[in-house]
Symmetry: D3
């Protein structure tokens, strides 16, 4: 690399110090919204923190895929969103801007709280033929509550809404890492609707080759169908991702998530988001580093598949 | 779960370890809302943090007023508020709950972001005869913007709204510590409407006896009129109050604010709020300690006056 | 002021936002004492922090046991304890207060440093027929030193004392996670006395089904005997529990501890404590979240067994 | 292991990187004891932190006194103290070790909580002819409570004890910076006994030349009498000293304390302590830097006077 | 302002969210170099942190000067510099890049450690006619050591070098805030050479109008001569600027520095740098906020003068 | 002042509270140099932090090896190094001082950034007969880049340099934990030269007995040859070692590293270093505790082998 290409001097505030978005095939876009979180807020700063952390990846050549997404990627910076408007209006803004981006690019969105995923799925479903999408959902929480503490929507209702609305196919929905408290109806909703849940409990002690059967089951279930990947960073154990709003002990390791991402790279992915990074509770950039690494791995996997 | 059953509102701690609220003359109440802040969120946890910090005051005997508010005080805990509703609905909830409390108690509210003060003024004006109230407003920001970055209301518009709505008398409004960036129309709004502004700049280097003329001017201006005190903790320099959303260098010291509070204790106060304490950015509890000390000083001053 | 009116003991928060203690079958009680720790102090604030963290569990329905302890639980708040008295006096205070609680409730105690467990075992043995109890002891440290750096007792001597005193049956004592430096006589004391030790080293890489043999051995050894559970949070690797006084690298994961707690829920538990949470060294509430989750899991397991 | 072999007492660092203590005229010694603090503990690590911070002073040439204490100073490292013994025993240990040091050196002690000062005054009075000493006491707290929340002694009773015991002459006692809550009998005790109190309130806004009258009054009152200096770091506003156990808003600035120390350097000082530095709550070493600077200023003042 | 123009969405990583540098009259440029700091490193991240903090200034209208520098300003991002090369080579790189920028813009540089100022003065002197420049130097340290602990140059030698090299006129050099330890030859060097020093000690308690005589003396001394402003953030007391490498207690307040900057805005400034912001030791962005505010005030003053 | 008299090198603490270095067989020595790190600096403070953390090991009896290195160990304190000199000069200083120490002691060095290892290998090769050494290299990074962002050397080139220079035998080099981004030529360099790489990916989920085959392969490859151990702390996942300059998610656990160190204790080790501990980014001393534990385990293993 050239003189002064250190992490600390690459301060372009674009993911991986990539170019501004033009006609690259892949786009990154931030959604600085955290208006409906029930515990610790601050995911509005997630996009900034993930981008800053991504600078340490230097030229971005992935050790597994042996490609860099750098030259294929543009950064659309952050969406412009209202600050004091009701959730449906915010969601409409997000959907509109996401639709425009998806029209021209394979997109990765940086949250923001998890409520934004509903808008992204609306845009993605429209973009990809209108059939309900397959969904891989990493999370400590099922996000299938049918209400938000008495209000209709929040960051814990979008999966329920997406299935009810036909945005995703329940039968092609896989949840990974679920473990929070909650009533059975919410906890088992995806399975009750025909989907599959791998709780954190079921994944304890499994990594590397030992994760093979789980990955095989996911690949088989989703084979061929356009699939969307949503990664709530709180799927990680709080030791690996302290900087999030609703941390739940007993979560996955960074290694486990990387194994999933690497091994499932050959699915028919149509987009991704990484949400709930709340930098105010992060230290030593643990959480934003992990998020940047996951997004980079997803993008490198895409680029490798397209070769 | 029911409205407002969030993690951050389930707090049963009480200010100064006082009794639960019954028929004490003074009440403390938390407003865990931070839905319209433009920078660092987290003031929803302000009430919890201020209460925890207040425990260090032990039996609460104030060294200047030589009384303790402890036996005269009850804690109403936190208001139950929606999490994902538009601001006007949240404000209606706050006004309703504040009205009920003010009906029976002299109240101090713990914010929360500064947007809550509009509701409190609505309740207070109704409670105190319907005449526009006098207002003493400590803040780094004028909070007189006529819009919130294109939306009608936020945490920086309430003073403008309160004057427009006739909740407070501009002529009897005093702002202390103002210093943030902003257009002249907002910065000078209170003065343009006949009120008085002591910018942080004008107060530099003045404390103790040297603050006498300033305090005299305030006392004279407000004499006899029912006055409401709103204290945005960011009036303090960030060195004294790091735990807030929009810190502005060049602010007041804790000592200066204490001088104001002690010297103005004989005004005709009808209520107080202390807002914008954002614990995620606090360290060593600097900010919540300062807020607790200010609230305690106000209450001790009230009790001393009533003797 | 009266005994135990310190700032750190004036906490009126309640675990899981449960009701104040009345005649619920289960009780939580804090022991804000850290008078005999040899390295980083601050476990006096453990009870406060664990309670605050527990609020994120919302209605407390456990995903494994599908019950909530919420309606069955009361919080006795913190014990009132002297601050500057010698350890034997403090221990007498604890024993007296614990005895009164155990008389009416199945109790979980939140420490405090590990020295408090001796008092709790004294009370528990008396309550449960006077036979030496079975003991499951999670810890990085064996706590079987025969002296405390030249003094008779500290937070590292209570297991030795409890066996010497006949409070627990060495043959029915199991230690899990032990790994600190120390002389062989202390490290192997429990095994030398007929008990069983699973060092952290022996548990490396074992979780989920792979922990089955270990759990089977424990269940077999303790079968039918009234058993007390003491969980020193430093059994976790410091990555999972930074907020403790004597962190030891190479520890258990949160997942491993959860596997133990869930799988051993059918033992004849008579009480639990969770100790050594030192919030001053915690960040992002990692440690208090883990502790709250463990206590909740224990309580949910109890409630599920009683159905 | 032997007495006082705790992690926190095994510190071999030396203040200002001076030589180990031999026959230098000045000695520094740590007292790693925080057994009777009522709020945030951790002052046991104060000596280590102050020494580490002192290293930034390089060759130690003071800009006001134009001398360095470096060549005149030895570091006696930390006292060996019991960890779980009652306060009177600890105090006896401290007194014994302090007496031995004072026999040969002009000493500065690094606390530790403020309870240690009673032992130091016992040793100092004996060493300096047995007459009650003059005392200059910087603190946010009066430390004249007649009991410690129902126990006889703690870190807030030593001034009362020292006056009662005749260790210091009340008439020659000056308190500076007092401001905490507390009953009048304690707050005014020193004045009631004939001494002088400059509350933080009285010092607001006074620094540099404006402090002249206060300093003059102190010099006049203490003139010629052997005087002991005790500096509780919480005399500083928490903005300047966050790392302490009982921070009180509205305190002195570092500048004000330096003005006192520099201007009073010509008094007949016989020893000093700097106490209540609790590093766990410090950030960026603010508090230990301030403490190191104050100790260095005292020592440089001594050396300058002796030339 | 328009929708979504909040601080947290303006993540352009340019100071004040200004445009990329083109032909604007004013330029900001980062110098991410911290290779010769003697204590805590990390000033390489100063430029990033100051830019991020500047986003809170929104549209940048200054409350004293009633102008915004926003439309007049471009950001040249960070200089490209070697990481492992000797200081003279790094300085040559800086000088070359600074020269190119100064050729077209009035520049403000964001450090980096203070060693960079020598290069900037070399470029500035050449640009402004070759006469030795006037210099206003805010710092806790005199930076006039004649060697760097045995090496020729470091971050504490540049003032000495600049005077020796004839880059600045000693008679027109003013130092403000000096207070660190150090030998007399270094401490008094600027005064010995005919310049003026206002130590932090001399400025204690002076702010607002009370600073008038000091400001008058500076204005008189520098009148008419092209003057360069270098602001080492450690001139602030560590309470106001914890995030720096060599913090020195007893420093200036943010208010005092603002008074200087505002009152001296009418001097013939030709450029500025703000150095030694080390974000790893910052908390709540105190230090980078202060630095951003100072740079903004300088720029607003420039723009106001040019109207 | 003399060479290397910086604040950060004036540390007189000693590892494990051992004696000053005299003629003990084992020596610890700090190398406070971080001049060529590309991201977060601060490893200059690594030696201090590791020593402080080691104090918690008390008498140092290792639970696996049942010996203590305490009586066999001396601490040479920190090397005196220049601060602003080019890397080759610094390396010459290190080599000279290391050579002198290795002459008389089996040495463990505490970094400092990883560039220092080249000097240590030069000294070690000379000391051990001049044959290329075997090397076990724990790291997230391959450190085999052939240049340092355009400069010849940095902290990521030393392995390349050591192989090129014949300091180590590529065929007897084993890398463990490698996972960062980077071009294939660098990533596979050691394997391409005949050595062996166990990436972090290959080690996922393997610990305890499951690591047996890996350990067997290493033992077989290195059997009998003098081997040097270099442990870059960033081999750990950032959850276990946040305090480092270039953290890479997906790393090893502390347990895995301990398994390697314990199981490979019988190799023919001739020296060790532990590098890249950057305390400014550490919290709760996680990273320095882990490093101290690893160094202690190595030393205990050595002592146990020598019995
Ligand atoms: Mn989610
Ligand atoms: Mn979640
Ligand atoms: Mn406000
Ligand atoms: Mn404000
Ligand atoms: Mn224990
Ligand atoms: Mn333990
Ligand atoms: Mn005191
Ligand atoms: Mn005090
Ligand atoms: Mn400087
Ligand atoms: Mn400086
Ligand atoms: Mn390395
Ligand atoms: Mn590395």
């Amino acid at each position: 690399m050239a003189l002064g290409q250190f992490a600390y001097a690459n301060n372009s505030n674009r993911f991986l110090a990539c170019a501004p978005l033009a006609d690259q095939p892949y786009a990154v876009c931030g959604i600085p919204f955290d208006g409906v979180v029930t515990n610790r807020p601050g995911a509005r700063f997630g996009p900034q923190a993930i981008r800053a952390a991504s600078l340490m990846l230097c030229d971005g050549i992935h050790p597994v895929f042996d490609v860099s997404p750098l030259e294929h990627l543009g950064d659309a910076l952050d969406m412009r969103l209202p600050n004091a408007s009701p959730l449906p209006e915010v969601r409409a803004h997000i959907e509109r801007q996401a639709t425009a981006l998806m029209d021209k690019h394979h997109c990765v969105f940086l949250g923001g709280d998890h409520s934004v995923t509903l808008s992204l799925l609306r845009a993605a479903k429209a973009r990809h033929g209108g059939e309900p999408l397959a969904l891989v959902h990493f999370d400590a929480h099922c996000d299938t509550w049918s209400d938000h503490f008495g209000e209709p929507s929040g960051h814990g209702t979008w999966t329920y809404e997406a299935i009810q609305e036909g945005l995703v196919s329940a039968a092609h929905t896989v949840q990974i890492g679920i473990r929070s408290s909650g009533e059975r109806a919410a906890r088992d909703y995806v399975a009750d609707q025909g989907g599959q849940i791998f709780t954190a409990r079921e994944l304890r002690g499994l990594d590397g080759a030992a994760l093979g059967p789980v990955i095989g089951a996911i690949r088989e279930r989703l084979a061929g169908r356009p699939a969307y990947l949503t990664l709530d960073i709180d799927v990680l154990d709080p030791a690996f991702a302290p900087g999030t709003g609703t941390p739940e002990p007993g979560g996955l390791t960074s290694s486990q998530v990387l194994t999933f991402l690497e091994e499932l790279a050959d699915l028919r992915w149509i987009g991704m988001d990484c949400v709930e990074v709340a930098p105010a509770y992060d230290h030593a950039e643990l959480t934003s580093n992990a998020a940047a690494c996951f997004v980079w791995t997803y993008l490198a996997g895409r680029v490798a598949q397209q070769r």
